[in-house]
Amino acid sequence: MTDRVEVRKTYKLFINGAFVRSESGRSYEVMDGDGAFLANVAHASRKDARDAVVAARAGQAAWAKATAYNRGQVIFRVAEVMESRRAQFEEELRRTEKLSDKKARKAVDEAIDRVVWYAGWTDKLAALVGGNNPVAAPFFNFSVPEPTGVIAVMAPQDDSLLGLLSVILPAIATGNSVVVVSSFHRPIPSVTLSEVLATSDVPAGVVNILTGDFSEIGTWLAEHMDVDGIDLAGVPAGDFATKLEALAASNLKRVIRPSTQDWSDTPSTYRMRQWIEIKTVWHPIGA
């Protein structure tokens, strides 16, 4: 190695498809697995969260209008771009989660494969959860899933890549947009993921990633009246999670409670089904 001075990256928030500093000007130190300084990361504020919701609302409208096939291809593209940047993800997991080479490789394998898994769901779930209902009268009656809207996601704190993807993907595969609060101590993979998303044809606003403290941002999102659902995956069960769930009742947000699951397990369809609304349409049959 030469003694060239490395060009370090500024770790920013990802809102409306753009990389922005926190409007508050705040940042916080992120350490690696050994406790050494890794980076200063943007510390999202209430205003950032609100900006992200505005972006998510606009992005969701466009994303929901895209065909399911198109959404599947866009999500698949995320896997392609991740694959091409896998060395970076592996390096980050080695440093932040202190994973061995082998484990880091496996974690990235699983993360990319998880993206592929969800990419395939976009145009299939509707046939499983909806369809024709044989009503006892001369009507054509069918049910279809539609996205719930804007979902706030408190990402898992430990599993900073696979866990993160496992809570973002079920929401966006079903046509929702998300405002994600990434792992507080391990935010770096989420920033790299936002760079992947920015180059994967994911429309602006569909995924917004805030680095920062869920114990602040979570409250603002849980009580935000233009958020339709909240995933508490990364919030430890206890008083604060209870507070967020109670706040979410203000506009009857759909809630996924704190989760202790192993993100390596093949997911069920639960998370996707929690972020859809079943719409049933009736029309008479007659001449």
């Binding site: 009503v135 006892a136 009268a137 109670a246 506009n251 009857l252 079943i278 049933t280 009736w282 029309h283």
Partner: protein, 478 residues
């Protein structure tokens, strides 16, 4: 023009035998309430006292939940086929005793016998029959290979469709292997208590269904009880939110079917005759005591005058009066409290500048009544266009383009139902897609079926009742 009046065609009430007072149905038996508290229930059509019913206190709720807990292991482990046969028995008994249920429902609720006889009770039986068939097929429903019941379901239901809401709650819960404690509404307890007799006749194991009558506090005790694993509530959005707060931090699963302010959208190319019937059905069915009522009428400007004129004409032909008369279209308001709420909200329509028009008809001297009413020149900002009135009051607005209709229809915290009237197929689909509502009726309104999922978007609640989607409300989801 010669008027041909309808001769009275009263349904006989001899088929029902109302007891002076009713206890609680716990562990397969009728028991006196530990609370020793009773309330009267009245016929809202003439204020006749019908019976006293027990008001379950905390100790009563506790006894019922304990009974349900005791029954749960055996009921949930019973083969689905056997469970299903109990539900088939219940469905058949409900069909056999349909007239009795219809008459009792009308007496206690005030809805026209025509509706309780032809809509409510047949749907109740159908709902049990449908779910009976699911009991041994749950592993095919798409909720994993080994779907599990949640446990004890605490279910709180409203007074507008007392038996139908019971069926929507109890049938899927039992089919999925849960046991239940049901709290009927304070003003309409009688058919649920008759249903308890059906459970006895069916030989349903003790404790699988428990019915604790009472008032708001009884329901709150049930929701709060630590032995309840699942809460299902149908009622107002305000109460729904307080329940969602109450279960926060617990392991209880929750589904909510709440209020609505459904838009019924009439395009200029609609089949106008049918649309008029659809508007009438949308808002005057069950006196407008319908969460999914089409209580906001949106008419395309070019046909607004014609539609309103024909609508008024049709409204004038509605027969308002004795619910037990087979020719009655609009029955009694369910309670004095509800009548006061309707009256107050309608008065706000006058105050805020909408133009009231009501049917000119005689009303019975006793009982609770409200004339079918519409408000012209209503705006999005009016309370009558925003708040659920839950009565025979229609707020009328106009629009010019499909996108304006969608904007107006979706401009509501609710999202339960909507109607679209047009002969143009592509427009129907465009509207059906754009409406943020759980049920969209196109060229029809207020249709229900056990195979057809029902439930809300946004603040109309979450979870579905009916169809495959409805099973998710009673199976462990993770």
């Amino acid at each position: 023009m010669t008027e041909f009046d309808y001769a009275p065609a009263p349904e006989s009430r001899a088929v029902v035998d109302i007891k002076p007072s009713y206890g609680l149905f716990i562990d397969g038996e009728f028991v006196d309430p530990i609370s020793d508290d009773y309330l009267p229930t009245f016929n809202p059509a003439n204020e006749e006292h019908l019976a006293y019913f027990a008001v379950g206190g905390e100790a009563d709720v506790d006894a019922a939940v304990r009974a349900a807990r005791r029954a749960f292991p055996k009921w949930s482990k019973m083969s689905g086929a056997e469970r299903g046969k109990y539900l088939f028995r219940i469905a058949r008994i409900l069909q056999e005793r349909a007239r009795e249920f219809a008459v009792l429902e009308t007496l206690d609720n005030g809805k026209p016998i025509k509706e309780s006889r032809d809509i409510d009770i047949p749907l109740v039986a159908a709902h049990f029959f449908y779910h009976a068939g699911w009991a041994d097929k749950l592993e095919f429903a798409g909720y994993g290979k080994n779907p599990k019941p949640i446990g004890v379901a605490g279910q709180v239901i409203p007074w507008n469709f007392p038996m139908l809401m019971l069926a929507w709650k109890v049938a899927p819960a039992l089919a999925c292997g849960n046991t239940v404690v049901l709290k009927p509404a304070e003003t309409t307890p009688l058919t649920a208590l008759l249903f308890a007799e059906v459970c006895q006749q069916a030989g349903l194991p003790k404790g699988v269904v428990n019915i604790v009558t009472g008032a708001g506090a009884t329901g709150a005790s049930l929701v709060a009880h630590a032995g309840v694993d699942k809460v299902a509530f149908t009622g107002s959005t305000a109460v729904g939110k307080s329940i969602a707060q109450a279960v926060a931090g617990t392991k209880k699963r929750l589904t909510l079917e709440l209020g609505g302010k459904g838009a019924n959208i009439i395009f200029e190319d609609a089949p106008i005759d049918q649309a008029i019937e659809g508007i009438i059905n949308g808002i005057f069915f069950n006196q407008g005591h319908v969460c999914c009522a089409g209580s906001r009428l949106l008419i395309q400007e070019s046909v607004a005058d014609e539609v309103i004129e024909r609508l008024k004409h049709r409204m004038q032909t509605l027969r308002v009066g004795d619910p037990m008369d087979k020719n009655t279209d609009v029955g009694a308001i369910n309670s004095l409290a509800q009548l006061q709420r309707i009256t107050e909200l309608a008065a706000s329509g006058d105050e805020e500048g909408a133009e009231r028009w009501s049917v000119d008809c005689a009303l019975p001297e006793r009982g609770f009544w409200y004339r079918p009413t519409l408000f012209l020149n209503s705006t999005d900002a009016h309370r009558i266009a925003r708040e659920e009135i839950f009565g025979p009051v229609l707020a009328v607005q106009t629009f010019r383009t499909p996108s304006e209709a969608l904007d107006k229809a979706n401009n509501s915290p609710y999202g339960l139902s909507a109607g679209v009237w047009s002969e143009k197929g592509s427009r129907i689909h465009l509207m059906a897609e754009g409406l943020r509502a759980g049920v969209v009726w196109a060229n029809t309104f207020n249709r229900f079926d056990p195979t057809s999922p029902f439930g809300g978007y946004k603040e109309s609640g979450y979870g579905r009742e009916g169809g495959v989607a409805g099973l998710a409300s009673y199976l462990v989801q993770e």
